[in-house]
C-alpha cells in the first residue's frame, strides 16, 4: 500500500518535471515562431541595403542600424575583451586567494547583475554630457562596461581549468612566469576564452537600454564614431512602439536578423569551440 503510494508519487513528480520543462519551452517557440512568421515576410534585400524611409513610406531598410550595431559591438569588444582577459589573468595566475581577488570577484559579480540601463545613465552623465554629443563611442563604451564582467567570469573559469602541471612544466623549463602565462596557459585555454567572448558579444549585441541615452539613434549613416548612430535594438524599439504597419513589419524583420545574429554566435561559440582542449 505504502509502496504503491510511493511509486505513484514518484511517477507523478517525474511527470510534473517533464511538464515544467515543456512549459518552459513554450515561450521560446512562441517568440521564435512569431518572429520567423512575421519577420520572414518582411525580409528582403532592401532591408539590408536601404536606409529607413520617412514614416508611412514603404521600402525602407535598416542597413544603417545593422552596421551601427556591428560598429558598437566592435568598439565594445576592443575595449572589453582585453581588459576582461587581463583582469582574469590577475585573478587566476597572480593572486588567486588574496582578499583583493575576493573583493574584485565580488565586484565582478555585482557588475554582472547591474541593470544595463544604469550603465546608460552613468555613461550619459560621464561621457555624453562631457563630450557634448551622443556618439557611437559612448554607446560602445556602455556596451564594453557590460561586457567586462562577463569576460572576466568566463576567462577565469577557463584559466582555472588549466592544470597546474602545465604551468609547472613551464617553470621547470626555466620559462618566466609572464611567458608561461602568455605562451602556455592562455593558448591552452584559448578556445574556452573565445567561447566566453563570443557569448558576451552575443549578449551585448541585443542590448537596448544602455544605448538609448548614449548612441541615441540616426536615420542616416553616421559619418564618424563621434556622432549619434543607429542600432538594431533601439530601432526595433522605436518601430515596435509606433503605430505604422510598415514599421511593425520592419521591427519583426529587425528582430529576426538580431535573433539570428545572437543564435548563430551562440551556436558557433558552443559547438565550434566546444571541445575544451585541456
Amino acid at each position: 500500500m505504502n509502496d504503491i503510494f510511493r511509486k505513484y508519487q514518484n511517477w507523478l513528480m517525474l511527470i510534473v518535471f517533464i511538464i515544467a520543462t515543456i512549459i518552459a519551452l513554450i515561450p521560446l517557440f512562441g517568440v521564435l515562431g512569431y518572429v520567423l512568421k512575421n519577420g520572414l515576410s518582411a525580409l528582403n534585400i532592401q532591408f539590408f541595403i536601404n536606409l529607413p524611409k520617412a514614416m508611412g513610406l514603404p521600402g525602407g531598410g535598416m542597413a544603417n542600424a545593422i552596421v551601427g550595431t556591428l560598429i558598437m559591438v566592435l568598439i565594445a569588444s576592443l575595449i572589453g575583451i582585453p581588459i576582461g582577459i587581463l583582469a582574469a589573468i590577475y585573478l587566476t595566475e597572480y593572486d588567486r586567494h588574496s582578499w583583493l581577488s575576493t573583493v574584485v570577484r565580488f565586484a565582478t559579480d555585482v557588475l554582472t547583475g547591474i541593470p544595463s540601463i544604469i550603465v546608460g545613465i552613468v555613461i550619459y552623465t560621464a561621457v555624453v554630457l562631457k563630450m557634448g554629443n551622443f556618439s557611437a563611442l559612448a554607446g560602445g563604451l556602455a556596451l564594453a562596461i557590460i561586457m567586462i564582467p562577463l569576460i572576466i567570469r568566463s576567462t577565469e573559469e577557463m584559466l582555472k581549468l588549466v592544470s597546474h602541471s602545465i604551468r609547472e612544466a613551464g617553470y621547470a623549463l626555466g620559462i618566466s612566469k609572464g611567458k608561461t602565462i602568455l605562451k602556455i596557459v592562455l593558448p591552452t585555454a584559448a578556445k574556452g576564452i573565445i567561447t566566453g567572448a563570443m557569448l558576451a558579444v552575443a549578449r551585448v549585441a541585443g542590448e537596448t537600454a544602455p544605448l538609448l541615452f548614449t548612441a541615441l539613434g540616426n536615420q542616416y549613416w553616421a559619418r564618424s564614431l563621434n556622432e549619434p548612430i543607429a542600432s538594431l535594438p533601439v530601432q526595433i524599439f522605436q518601430y515596435a512602439t509606433s503605430p505604422y504597419k510598415e514599421w511593425h513589419q520592419l521591427a519583426w524583420a529587425g528582430s529576426l536578423v538580431l535573433i539570428l545574429m545572437v543564435i548563430i554566435l551562440n551556436l558557433v561559440a558552443r559547438f565550434a569551440f566546444r571541445s575544451r582542449s585541456i
Binding site: 510511493r6 511509486k7 514518484n10 513528480m13 517525474l14 518535471f17 517533464i18 515544467a20 520543462t21 518552459a24 519551452l25 515561450p27 521560446l28 512562441g30 517568440v31 512575421n38 587581463l86 583582469a87 589573468i89 590577475y90 595566475e93 597572480y94 583583493l100 574584485v104 565582478t108 559579480d109 555585482v110 557588475l111 547583475g113 547591474i114 541593470p115 540601463i117 544604469i118 550603465v119 545613465i121 552613468v122 552623465t125 562596461i145 567586462i148 564582467p149 618566466s176 609572464g178 611567458k179 549585441a205 541585443g206 537596448t208 537600454a209 535594438p233 526595433i236 524599439f237 515596435a240 512602439t241 511593425h248 521591427a251 519583426w252 538580431l258 535573433i259 545572437v262 543564435i263 551562440n266
Partner: protein
Amino acid sequence: MSKQYKLTASLGDQILRLLTLSMAIGVLVLMVWMGWQMFDTARPSIQRFGLGFITSRVWDPVKEQFGALPFIYGTLVTSFLALLLAAPIGLGVAIFLNEMAESRFRAVVGFLVEMLAAIPSVVYGLWGIFVLAPWLKTTVEPGLAKWLGFIPLFQGTPVGFGMLAGGLILAVMILPTIAAISREVMAAVPNMQREAALALGATKWEMIRVAVLPYAKSGIMGGIMLGLGRALGETMAVTMVIGNRPDILASLFAPAYSMAAVIANEFTEATYDLYLSALVEIGLILFGITLVLNFFARLLVWSVGRGPKGGSIV
C-alpha cells in the same frame, strides 16, 4: 642563460603583473565610480526629499514633487510574480535535465532553455506588444476575472498592458537564470549522496528530495535571488508591456510602472536638474538593491561549493 636575459624577462613579468593588477583594480574602481557618479547626480533629489522619496507616491514633474513608491511597487509586484512562476518551473527544468533526461536530450533541451536567455529583451517586448498583451486582454484576463474575480488581484478591466503582462514576460526572461544555476549546484551534489539514497531503496523522487535538494538548497536559493536581480533591473521588455502609469493599484490587470522603465522613458526628457536627479536616484536605489541582492546570492551559491548541508531524511 645570461644574466641580461633574466633581467628583461623579469621586467616583462613585472609589466604583465602590473598590467593585470591594474585591470583587476580597475574593475573595483569601475563599480565604485559608477555608484559615486549616480550618487553625485542624485544628490539634489536626496537632499530635497530625503527618505520621503521612497515613501511618497506622488510623481508630478509639473509641481516638482517626486516620489518613487509607485515605481518600487510596480517593480516588486512584477518581479515577485515572475519569481512565483519562474522559480518552480525553473527548478523543475533543472531537476528534469539533471536527474532524469538522457545525456543527448539533456544537451538539446539545455541549449534551448539557454536560448531563452539569449533572446534580446527588445524582442520579448515586441512579442509582448503584439502577441502576449492582446492574448491576455481577450482570453486570460477575462477568464481570471470570471473565476478568481473575488480576489482584488484579478478585478478590473482587462487591458492587456499591465503588471500581469510585465510579470509574465519577466518570468520567461529569468527562467533560464534560475534553471542554469539550479543545474549547476545540483551537478555539484556528489553522486555518492544519490547512490546512498537509492541503495536504501528510495524511489527517484525520494532520492531527489532527500539527497539532492537539501544539499543544493542554498545554491538554488541563490539562483532564485539572481533571477530576482535580473527581473528587478530588466528594462525594455517591461517598458513595452507594463502600461507606463505611475500609480499603485491592487489589480494585476492594471497598468503600472517599473523603476527601470521610468528611467528609460523619462531620462532624456527630464527638463530640469531636480527631475533628472530624481530619476538618477531611482537608478541609485536599483543599483543598491542589486548590490545587496547579488552579495547574498553569491554567498549562497558559493556556500554550496564548500560542503554538504545535511538534509533530514523524510
